[in-house]
Every structure is written in C-alpha cells, then in structure tokens.
C-alpha cells in the first residue's frame, strides 16, 4: 500500500473506518479527536500526550494505527526506549514518520540533585471533648476488697493517633462461666481443668493468662439451661470475688425477663466492689439494672445492637431517668466478629468515638467489646472448609486465636477500651500490640530494609 505524501487526519480516519479498525494495543481512539491512553497497559506514559501536543499526538497515533493496518507491529513503537531498541528496524517510510515524531519530544532529563521539602501536617481540631475516665474495682480504702483499680477511657483522640497520647491502655477481662459450656477446641484445652470451678477458672485467668479483670457470666440462670435462681446464682459472684482480687464484671444469661432481677441481686452481693454490670439493654428493664448500679456504686454496661442512635437513647435514659453519673457508664455497641460483620461493628464504634470527641455528650463513654464472639465464626473453629473448592484452611488450633486477636485489635483501633476475651494467646497478643502502638514496649528494632535479603 502506498502512502500519500500528505495525510490529513480526516483521510486517515476515513481509511481506518473503511478497514474497520477498532483499537491499538493500549491506545483507544475515542470519536475522532480524543485519545485515551491506558496508563497501565505498559509502554505509553502519561508524558506522551503532554510532550507531543494534542494535535501531533493525534496524527502520530493515526499514523501508527495506519501502520498497524498495513501489517507493522506498531505496539512495539510505543514501547519505551529500552524495549524498543531490541526490535528490528521499521520499514523506511514508517521510520521516517517515527523520527519526525521523536524530534518533537524534548529530551527527558534526570534531576541533578534531590529537592528539599519539609513534611508537616496538622491534628484534628474538631476533637475537643475527652472521653469519660472510668474506674473499675474498689480497694480497701474505698470500701471494697480489690487489690487495685482498673482505669478505662480518658482519650482525647482516636486510639494510637498523633493528636494526643492515650492515658490508659486497653484492658482485657477474661470470661468465666458458672457452668460448663460448649467451646471451640482451641479454647477448651485451656480450661478443661477448671471448667467446673468458677473460682479456679478466675484464678487461672489472672495468674496464668494475665487477665486485667475477669467476667463471671451467670448463664446457668437461663430458663433454657439450668434455670438457676438468682439468689443461688450470685453465690458464684462471691466465690470469684474471694478467688481473685482484680476488679470483676458480672454478666447475665441474656434473658430479658430474668437478667434485671439477677443483675440487681448480683449488684447487691457485690456492693462496694465497683464491678461492671453486664448489661442493660433497651429490650429489657434497663431502669432496674441502672438503679441497682447506682445504689450499689457499680458501673453499668449499656448494650445496644450496632446502632448509634439506640446507643444514644440508652445512655440518655441511664443518665436522665436513672440518674447514673457519667463516670458509671461503659458502652457495648456490639461486636460482630471478623468475617461476620466486623465492618459494621468497626464503623459503628469509630463513628461513636468520633462523635464523642466532637462533643456529643451522649456518647463520651469508654467502649467494651465481646471479642469472644470471634469463636462463633466458622472460620475460627471448623476443622476444614464446608466448601470443597477452598484451599485447605490450615490448623484450626492456630487459626482460631488469630480470629480472636484480629477481631479485638481491629476494634481497639476503633476505640474499644476493654475486651471480653477467652483464648490466652489472643489475650497476650492484643495486650502486646496495643501497648506497642502506645509506645510502651521497648525492643531493639531491626534494620527495616533488611527484609530484602532476609533468609526465611
């Protein structure tokens, strides 16, 4: 095919459209004037169009496209110098066209020296309201029998942000149940020896596993389980208070009719110990539970289900209707676990914390997470995948604890102050990473570039 001496864009387009050419590799011609260059296709950089100028580039592109039609592998012309040099010289007439195009490009120039720039960035000026600081546990001097007090909250920024240091590290309260319950194997192996003795269980959690607190769950009161009477169930609270001297949390069975009566009774039994009562919910008699906390000097856990406005409503009722002081409320906005709605739990908590820092007085409370929920996720406990095409799921004894770690730690970054947890390894890792990010862990840091040649 002969090339005319002068080719206009219109001629080219006409020829091309007759030949039904759609596109070049990496280059699309939109309509008849616009060229879109796919930055990722390799070869053509964004500088291309800039240096060539729109019109020249259009002609060059059409020429190339034309060349492709006549059988020359034009994609190679668009490759960078180093690649293009490896290919055979183009036919004469095309070489001429390419040379003309190349002459229009100013040579790329390597910088002579590094620029000097200073990095700076501000803090978030909308964070003006600190989170309420809460003390759990009362020592002898304060009418209780605990060995020490655990403090939660007090933040002035999101966790681990540069705006303000966290005054208190996140704390972990380990679960103790008042009757044997079903557990994932990876968890069960750690509690088989104490499963019938809540006191021993609590001791093990504190002494062996480093729990900051323990939560005694009075689940045997559930009418569908043992239906233990409240006055009998609370004996377990006394047993645990005797066994350990850390501050404790007391939980019910979740039965909305029975929990208020049970928790009110437990609050009386533990009067003066400043325990965390878990929990009041809008679907039950929150007033009775809140009042029991107020009358016996306890802290009330206000539990709502992944809904910021319900959390505000419940907190408001506890403050305004019950008259609970601000330093006696902790929130549980619900923990949906990793792979099972963690995104909702995470954003709900992050929104709650941001709203509080910005001054929403109905949300300025520390948060709690039922991190043990992680064990309800099949990926945490199942031996192998129900889906036969999945890659092997690996050792569940190793997999499960990571599920609990990531569920808890992710929510720590959203603002959770206290975690209810079960697996000792998970407890250790959540402690370690949260304290590391607060700058509390000393360790010799390896050369961070040495991974390149690391032998593993």
């Amino acid at each position: 095919m002969q090339m005319a001496e002068k080719i206009t864009l219109a001629d080219l387009n006409k020829t091309l459209s007759e030949m039904n050419v759609q596109s070049l590799e990496g280059v699309k011609i939109e309509g008849d004037v616009e060229i879109e260059i796919d930055a990722g296709a390799g070869g053509v950089g964004p500088l291309f169009a800039y240096y060539f100028g729109q019109e020249i580039a259009q002609i060059a592109m059409q020429l190339l496209k034309f060349a492709q039609v006549v059988g020359y592998p034009t994609a190679n012309l668009l490759q960078p110098v180093a690649v293009a040099s490896q290919i055979a010289a183009p036919p004469k007439e095309l070489a001429g066209a390419a040379a003309a195009v190349a002459a229009a490009v100013p040579a790329w120039k390597l910088a002579d020296a590094l620029a000097t720039a200073k990095f700076s960035v501000g803090t978030d000026k909308t964070w003006k309201t600190p989170i309420q600081e809460i003390a759990l546990g009362a020592t002898k001097g304060n009418g209780g029998s605990r060995g020490h007090v655990v403090k939660l909250g007090g933040e002035k920024a999101l966790p681990f942000f540069p705006d303000a240091a966290m005054p208190n590290s996140p704390k972990i309260t380990m679960d103790v149940f008042d009757m044997p319950i079903g557990m994932a194997k990876a968890v069960k192996v750690h509690y088989e020896d104490v499963i019938n003795s809540p006191g021993e269980w609590a001791k093990k959690a504190v002494k062996q596993f480093g729990a900051d607190m323990v939560t005694v769950h009075l689940i045997s009161t559930d009418p569908l389980l043992k239906d233990t009477k409240p006055q009998d169930a609370v004996k377990t609270v006394e047993e645990v208070l005797q066994a350990v001297d850390v501050p404790i949390c007391i939980g019910g069975s979740g039965n909305p009719n029975k929990d208020p009566i049970l928790l009110a009774k437990a609050a009386e039994v533990a009067a003066g110990e400043r325990v965390l009562i878990a929990s009041a919910n809008l679907n039950m008699d929150w007033e009775m539970i809140g009042k029991a906390c107020k009358d016996n000097g306890h802290v009330c856990l206000a539990w709502t289900q992944l809904e910021i406005n319900s959390q505000k409503e419940l907190n408001r009722k506890l403050m305004k209707v019950v008259g609970l002081p601000k330093e006696s409320i902790v929130m549980d906005p619900t923990t949906a676990a990793l792979a099972y709605g963690l995104d909702f739990a995470y954003s709900n908590m992050e929104r709650i914390r941001l709203a509080a820092l910005k001054g929403d007085e109905e949300l300025t409370f520390p948060m709690s997470s039922g991190t043990t929920n992680a064990w309800g996720v099949r990926e945490a406990w199942m031996v192998r995948s129900p889906n036969k095409e999945d890659s092997d799921w690996g050792d569940r004894m190793l997999r499960g604890p990571i599920w609990e770690i990531l569920t808890g730690f992710t929510l720590a970054m959203a603002g959770v102050d206290i975690f209810m947890m079960m697996h000792p390894t998970a407890v250790a890792y959540v402690h370690e990473i949260t304290q590391s990010l607060m700058g509390l862990v000393d360790a010799k840091t390896p050369d961070t570039a040495s991974w390149l040649k690391m032998e593993v």
């Binding site: 939109e30 309509g31 616009e34 796919d38 930055a39 296709a41 390799g42 950089g45 964004p46 960078p80 110098v81 180093a82 390597l110 910088a111 590094l114 620029a115 720039a117 200073k118 990095f119 540069p162 569908l224 909305p256 919910n281 679907n283 289900q305 792979a339 963690l342 995470y346 954003s347 990926e379 199942m382 995948s385 129900p386 095409e389 999945d390 890659s391 690996g394 190793l398 997999r399 990571i402 770690i405 990531l406 730690f409 992710t410 970054m413 390894t425 590391s436 990010l437 607060m438 700058g439 862990v441 010799k444 840091t445 390896p446 961070t448 570039a449 991974w451 390149l452 040649k453 690391m454």
Partner: protein, 470 residues
Amino acid sequence: MKETSPLNLYKQLPQTNCKDCGEQTCMAFAAGLIARTRKVEECKPLVSEKKYAKKLEALKSTVAPELRMVMVGPADKQVKIGGEDVMYRHQMTFFNKPPFAYDVTDAMDEAKLTERVNKIANWKKFYIGNWERVEMIAVRSVTDDPAKFAACVGKIQSLTNYPLILCSFNPKVLKAGLDVAAKNRPLIYAANKDNWKEVAQLAHDYNVPVVLSVPFDLDGLKSLAATFAGMGLNDLVLDPGTAPNGKMLQQSLLNFINLRRAAVEEGQRDICYPVMALPINAWLTTKDPVRAAYWESVLTATFVVRGGALMVKHSIESHSVMPDMHLRFNIYTDPRKPVQVKPGIHTVGSPKPESPVFLTTNFALTYYTVESDLGSNGIDAYLMSLNTDGIGVQASVAGGQMTPQKIADAFNESDFKFESQKYPALVLPGMAAKFSGELEDLFGGKVKIMVGPEDSGRLGEWMKTQWPPK
C-alpha cells in the same frame, strides 16, 4: 475528590440530559460521579465534542481521587493501588483493597520457586459470593546477582501472570529484572537516597511505577517524591518504613496516619501517593514461624485499618492468610451498599414437595453462607429469609428481631403453603432452637418444627440423619 455537591459537578457537564450514559439527567450523572459509581469518560458528548474540552479537563481534575492511584501489572491482571478519598470508611468507602504481595527470592532453586509461586497463585477462599485471592508476588533479590534475578523473574512469568514487585536496592539487579518483565508493568522497589538517580532512569526508560523508600524520615520521603515528580515520574508508591516492634512500630503507624491525613484531609498534592507496608518484617524479629505469622497478621491489621495501600507478606499458611484476607475484605466493604437480601421464600436448587424448608435471616452474609452450604451439598430446599433488619441469627434471637411470631407472620405473608409439602416441617437454625415450642403452637400443630445445626456448614450431615422427618 473533595467535592460533595452534585450541583458543582453538574456545571461541568453538557447539561443536555441526552441520556446516553443511561441516567435520566445530567444531575443524576453528577450524583453518580460524587459517589464514584460513574466515571467521567461515560459522558460521551463531554469526551467526544471539542467544545467541551475545557469542561472535561476541569471535571477530570475535580473528580480525581485525593490519594493518587497507581496501576501495576499486565492489562488483564492489573491491580489498583491507592485511589482513596476518605480518612474513615464510614465517610464514603475505601475503594481499592491493598493488594497482598507474597515474597519469593532469587536464591530459591527452581523446584522450590515453582512450588511457592503455585501456592501463592492458587490460594483461594470463597466468601460472600466471591473468591478471595492473593494478588501479587514480590521478588526479592537475595543474591544481588542480576543474572540470577532475571532468571528468577523469567521463571515466575512462565508460571503466572500475577503482577510483580521487583525488589532490590541495586539498580543493576532491577534493570535485569525489568529487561525480562517491563512489558508486564511491574512495580520496582525501591529508590532510596543513595540510588535514586539510577532508579529514576530505570523508571523512565521502562516506564514503570516505582517505590520511594525513606524509612522514618518524612522530610526525606517528601523530598524524594518532589524530585521524582519534577522529572515527570508520578506513578509513585511511598515506603515510610515498617518497624515490626518497639517504639519504632508506634512511629510507623503515626507516619501512616500523618501521610494519609496530609493527602486526604489537607489535600497536600505533593505527598498524595499510596503508602506501602511491610508486614513481612515480623520475620526479622523471631525464628519461631508461628510467632512470626501471628505477628505478621497483627502488623497487617494495623496497616490495613489505617490506610496501607499495599502489603508485602510472607506467611502463606492458611491460618494466617485467611484472617488477614477477611479483615481486608471487611474494612474495604462498601458501607453504602445494602447487605440484606430480599425477605421471603427463596429456592435453592430445584425443591420438590419432599424437600425441606429452612429458615435464616436476611443478613446477606448469613443468607449466602446458608445458601452456599445447601448448594455445595446438593440439597434442594426452600429457604425463608426472615426480615431481621439485616442482623444475623444469634444477634437477632438475642435482640428480638427474630421471634416465633415474626417467623409465623413471615410464612403467613408469603404464598408458601406447608400443606402442599410432603413433610410439612420447618427447620430452624440451631441458634433459634428455643423457639420450637412456641412455633408449634403458632402453626396450630400443622407444621413440625425441627432444629437444624448451629452452623449451616453441618447441614449435609444433618440431612443424612434427620431428613426426612420420622
């Protein structure tokens, strides 16, 4: 994009309501641009008519993400790095989940290399209707020998077309890798204060994106970025240093937060590049592989949550890949999209009168899990999705969104007739077992209430022993 008002974008559109894009009005298209569900290029008149050239340019610059987006890999396997607009996911969504790049080295013999590449490329897990996979391979030059590196890269490319990161501070090694792989648009790691001239030359000659590595010195990092941008090299990824432990780890996270804030909240255009993290550095702190994999997961979570745009990782064992993948999935799930399925009776397979009827919630994750468990076990069934406001079984039983009355109402409101079933029975999720008695009464004893397993993964087994009902 800082713009939040469709009206301001509308001003840059043709305003002809031509409907070519599929929207009824240009204003609706503008709203789509704000939500990033539409692209400027989808407005055909704007792109093709010369008179709109200025508007097109203005609009493109307005809608560009606050954090630059860098494309890596061959066209058919390209990954997007960066391209984010917000600091917190609830403000809109995070768009491009950070690719996981697992490492291989040029010191591996061919058999080991092949085994590891295949393991990386074949890893997969099904989750909410999709396969989760690893996206990239990071090739480390341990030998520092250009020929060995080139051979290694060549071998990898013969096994897979996964996007690569070519990792060395030695420009000769990088060049050898690029000679083999440039056509597949790898990312090169890295330019630093010593080698930046040679690496800039390579990035230019081969037209590939490049990582700038200046650990724990944001002034230095910004200086290097400005230098590269001044040479027209804008496809940059930043490595501000990932310390795996101690006080420097805290500093690493602070740097990530500060860089993200500068780009997204303050609109600092000269530092608005995606930032990469190196969870692999956990392996520098211990010889214990379990401890290293655990800590790698923890580091991954740290930087996935706070804006890391690319992760270089090592442990390909499922016990750590799975949780890391799911965390990334959760954080990058679009909170604007409903996660509920339509309440009511659905069918799985081709149910017949002798097929069972199961109950679950309208929370998408629960629903699709049950559906997939039934499907993969070849169980034909009816599946009632109860409207629990998108809350899962356990939480809705506790929170009152699932009650016996609501379950009975759901069946009454649907056209489903238990009496046309050979075995008029309803299988409850194990977590809702306590509703059995009350439900029997609500159905007037005409429907047998059965209790299924607590996890639908066991439905196959359950069917073998419990169905048909005796």
